[in-house]
Point group: D2
Chain length 423, copies 4
């Protein structure tokens, strides 16, 4: 679907009010233009598996019009990107999204300005006909044959990624144990390291490997890459192309994630992000729906740390949503998530860094808090709208999605009972 | 399978060593005979859905020889009960276990000394062809039609239970919300109350209703029956036949569950237990595999509180396992779970209550701890073995299960790819 | 100190910018006037013990110019109230704040428009010369003599409160146990109930008793009033004058506090609030400094629930800050806390309740979130400033506090090494 | 006090029963003699600050007869060591325990077979007359002068340690922040690293530095050495003499500590332990009083990992208790703690490592659990008693401590109102 005409009409109807709001804000914020430019450049990758309804171990309540093919998934992302101009990338998951014809997939994506972000391997499920089972782990497995199969799968994922123009492999391992005694932690770590080294050796020169960590689930006693320390240890031993990937939902209760972000940036080992939100565990809720201030604090560290290393905000880290949409329309949920990410980014850009530095040097805790909260409490939504307006997107993406009844159109095209691959 | 002959042979081979151990223990424990009698009387219900391999939202790795029919599930429990003589009850889950011919199912169970414990309704999944969806809740739902369907389902579950000789309905609700704003908490609670009242009205005179609570999952922002306080409030408003059911995995981190148990007993509102263990959330691991001391402390309160109310330990509360077996053979897992429950019970019976009372009256914290830990550190396994021996079970249930290769027999009978209904 | 002149000058200098901001907001918010009126009426009580620097078990780093007497504490609150016009109440703690001459204290408070909010008893510390020790509890104690002493202390606190014009007693109990076995939970609960009944009997006719709960600390195994369920059970057994008090820091990790608030309001048993913020436990940080969205969600339930019962927002619940200021100037911290509370209240008032109701009735989760976040993301600070302006306070209380160097003035008056009573 | 005569009499009275129990156990455990030898060699250091009653921020309830001087503290440890022969080391805390005459202190300790374990610096409190305040940190501080003072204090601690024959410095830092924005995480880390490097440079050749981490408290937003990953990063950058120290209470809820232990051992970076137990946070309860199975699992990893590196269990790691005794007699509490540590160690030694290895290689999760639980469920107390008997200690240390009324004797010597330095 090409939406430019509709977007134009939609924007026209909202323009006057938007201008009033943006003008008010511009008067308060000297750096408004700079922030708008950075917002325009910032792109968040959409994971292919988040385009369908998610579920829990207790059940799944599918919605209508889910994408049934890789092409339809790309079209979904294209739809999002037309609306918000900030979703210009897709992250595929193998084997759920093996492209039969990489070239045609690539041109379809190109047509909509979508690039292929990190490719993801899957060794946490058994596929039909698979020789070895991952019931007791993959890269950590006590049996060399299982590890070999998992290594080869990862290398195959790299091949698919190369064909699509991706340059990053994300490795998330469910490996771990459910009971004390099940695993020798040291041998599991060393097996994992050795396996990752073999995969690392197969990385093309310009590729990165992102090693994701997670505190628990689906293993309920130990996870072999369980925290940032373990991921960082692996990435350090692997080499310069290996980095840590942070997923906001993969921590123990109360963890200070923004501090981890800062330290990984300091060490040059932060590779990217999986955004989502949660109240209890890896709940995979809409970004910013539960703890928006934490999200802002994380972006505050990201901006500070990337600037300290003179990194390009938009290009050097992998930004991706990784959420599950159990009770919302996936596309609407993703629009809300991207909005929340950009809002936190805008607020972080708004922080008066010079004043913050001085407050810190003087241990003026009250003022430091005022500076952060002044940025957070500012209503930055007009900045986001302006960025979308300038780049051809919609002033109110969710509004137009609903007004145009886009889900109904998709459902008419695809049917009510399509089920997207994914969790 | 009738195992009595094999059990006899197995016991003969272990008898001498057992006698030595039991005699040693009997010399140390004056109340040994009394404890053995209580252990013999204590029965733990096996949930029908725990006889197959469990899974997580990330996948499920099935095992061989799972029971495919209700008859086979009863035979599995019969097998367990022959081995440990402590699993003489089964808890069914509707609609997974609807009996086509209740009478023949009942005689099959009778043959093995198995009774029908609490029956469980399911309004957390949609069944094929169901008129209304539970995507947004069941008994709490904003739409009366959905509530009505869920109420009727519960009443139907009672009918099935009556036909089988059960006298308890367990209501676990996944109802809640995933996002702030989704739900009006008060209206959700009041709808739930009203729905439960209609179900309560349909309870036969000698029935109980157990209202289970859970802190979170599968809803990740709020759960409408989320803690013991909410369950207790509902049970109080419902009436004398309504009780709270405690599942060990349904709490926030660090919760003192034993205190909740004590207070519910004080109020006469404790209805029963779902046993399992966990490190993170509702991990549904083998009972006693992670926090055996907590399990002992819970039994310590149970024994103390039931004795204070002169309750019959074996008859007045519903004791059930509710675990998921992702990486273990379900029957082996259940043997381990029952053993852990009985061990904790035996340790709790061993506590010197008179001395404990005096230590508490004198605020002698050191001594109170010594008394509890003396019981916990005592190796009570010979008491359990003796109880099994006297009641016709096996001295070492897991040993004989493996020696006789019972899973292999079941797999030969049922096939490798049977999948039991359940999570 | 009478600050009206300085405040006038301060406001004049900021007025033009304020008017611009307020006018912009008023254009967006039809209910702006109504919200401003409600903000003016809303008063937050300042606890006398929060006027000095707090500490931890590892140490305390005092600040200069702390109030050394009850008079000075009242003057501190008067200073806050002149600045923000929202701190027109003080909550005293006995025995830290026993007034020698209640009448003169009362006229001092009257002079500044300060009323006496809830009075607080202290049975978690031993005072010099005290006959019985609270080492092993107070109202729960196994020894009747200890309970009696604690009961009498509470009754004495009521007497002090009557003399000052208070009408509420807040009972926070540290009672509990540090080790399994130390306490019989049931007897501890029943002793506590009996003790509270004796105190309740001494309440004047127009008084309330607020029963506070806390999950843990300073007892590290069990707390006798440990959660809302236990507090509610006690309050229900006590009678119509007994209510539950919610302190935001007194829960297990991840607890959904807003749901508790909603249910207590539903039952007519919510008595009041202790505001603070926390990341780990009862950290007692500045309100809104860690989880401002949670604070908003709580106020969202408060507004909804109070409106449903047609309660007066400003008068029927006890609103109090209960924080500890380890690294900030206490008065600055309190200004930040009051601001955060009013901001959350304003945002909650902004929620479009009619639309939210309809979204909930339609299970439109996306829209429900949009409605809440639209309110939260709106920059409501001009509403607060306007409320202060209209009631004679400062447009920027923290700004004027710093510009006038009020702490320096206080330090010159009181000295550097005064230490306020408190934790 | 020299207790050998009394111990002899005490042992005589219990000997017959002990022999019966030990003989029974020896028959079941082929390796009994080897375990007893290892138990005899294993020594746990007693921290000088744990000899007095601890407190919380809410208060402290002192007990009688606390040691008022360093000499008395050494005599307390000597008393413990005579009773259990496993407490042959003391860990001092500077400035609480500055020895005026190191030589005489050293001979006093020698006399009782007590050596000086790690010395501990204190930069989390301000001492009277101190030039710079640690209110905003020490080794992390933005002000070089504060860092310098803290560095010099640590070097002074090393000097005291050298004079006493210690060879280890433990650095625990309270450094961190209470509010977002207060600290630049990266600069705080780098300042800390630089400061530690200066201290490291002052370490004698045969010394170790142990870098302790802690998730939170007394800072409630961030801690600069907050988890094992940060400690390990610092220790790696510092050099071969720097190690990580694990305190059981310094983690987020649910953390798998045993896995951390295993990985640190794998990396050759585990330096030592602070033993205690907890249910909520850094509760500092008696070792083994809340989660004895977790303690066993940790020792299981320690034994496995030390054996894999052919380390001497008794000599190469620093074993220390770090608990607070709020409601128990400190000496009784320490006797219980040492007993719990040795019990877990004995159980871990009992694990059939060969079978466990094979079970792991076969992914036989059920058997792996059986092997661990078989060790844990075995009543190993007679092994501990035998070890004490052979090394001249008491069969029942707590029993003789009470029978001889040793606290009464100490109180008569020292008075009721002595207060030991410490928290």
């Amino acid at each position: 679907m090409i939406l430019s005409g509709s977007i134009q009409a939609h924007n026209d109807s909202l323009l006057k009010d938007h201008v009033r709001r943006f003008d008010f804000l511009r008067e308060n914020i000297p750096a408004a233009e700079d922030i708008v430019s950075k917002l325009i450049a910032f792109q968040v990758a959409i994971p292919s598996w988040a385009l369908g309804t998610g579920g829990t171990r207790f059940g799944r309540f599918s919605g209508p019009g889910e994408p049934g093919t890789l092409e339809e998934k790309i079209l979904d992302v294209a739809l999002l990107h037309q609306l918000n101009r900030s979703s210009g990338a897709i992250s595929l998951h193998i084997p759920w999204d093996i492209p039969d014809h990489p070239d045609s997939i690539r041109s379809l994506a190109d047509k909509y300005g979508i690039r292929f972000d990190a490719v993801n391997s899957n060794t946490f499920q058994d596929q039909p006909g698979q020789a070895q089972s991952y019931k007791f782990g993959s890269l950590q497995h006590v049996d060399k044959a299982v590890r070999k199969q998992a290594i080869e799968h990862n290398i195959e994922v790299i091949r698919h990624g190369v064909a699509l123009g991706s340059n990053t492999l994300t490795v998330w391992l469910a490996d771990g144990s459910c009971f004390p005694g099940q695993l020798n932690f040291r041998r599991a770590f060393l097996n994992t390291l050795e396996s990752l080294q073999e995969i690392y050796a197969a990385l093309p020169a310009d590729w990165k490997m992102l090693v994701e960590y997670k505190a628990y689930e689906p293993n309920f006693y130990s996870t072999t890459v369980g925290d940032w320390g373990q991921s960082h240890l692996l990435a350090s031993k692997l080499g310069n192309k290996a980095y840590t990937l942070v997923d906001l939902g993969h921590h123990h209760p109360n963890t200070n994630i923004e501090q981890i972000v800062s330290l990984l940036l300091m060490e040059g080992k932060l590779g990217g992000f999986h955004f989502n939100d949660s109240k209890y565990g890896d709940d995979d809720l809409t970004v910013g729906s539960i703890k928006p201030y934490q999200l802002f604090l994380i972006f505050n560290e990201l901006v500070e740390g990337m600037d300290a290393r003179k990194m390009d905000h938009a290009l050097e880290l992998a930004w991706m949503i990784d959420a599950s949409h159990n009770v919302k329309d996936p596309l609407e949920d993703l629009l809300q998530s991207v909005e929340a990410i950009l809002l936190a980014y805008a607020q972080a850009l708004l922080v008066d860094r010079q004043s913050l530095y001085h407050a810190q040097q003087e241990n003026d805790v009250v003022k430091a808090q005022e500076i952060l909260q002044d940025a957070f409490r500012t209503d930055c939504r007009p900045l986001l709208a302006e960025a979308r307006l300038r780049s051809g997107g919609a002033l109110h993406p969710l509004g137009i999605f609903r007004d145009m009844q886009l889900r109904r159109t998709l459902t008419e095209q695809r049917g009510i009972h399509t089920v997207a691959t994914g969790l």
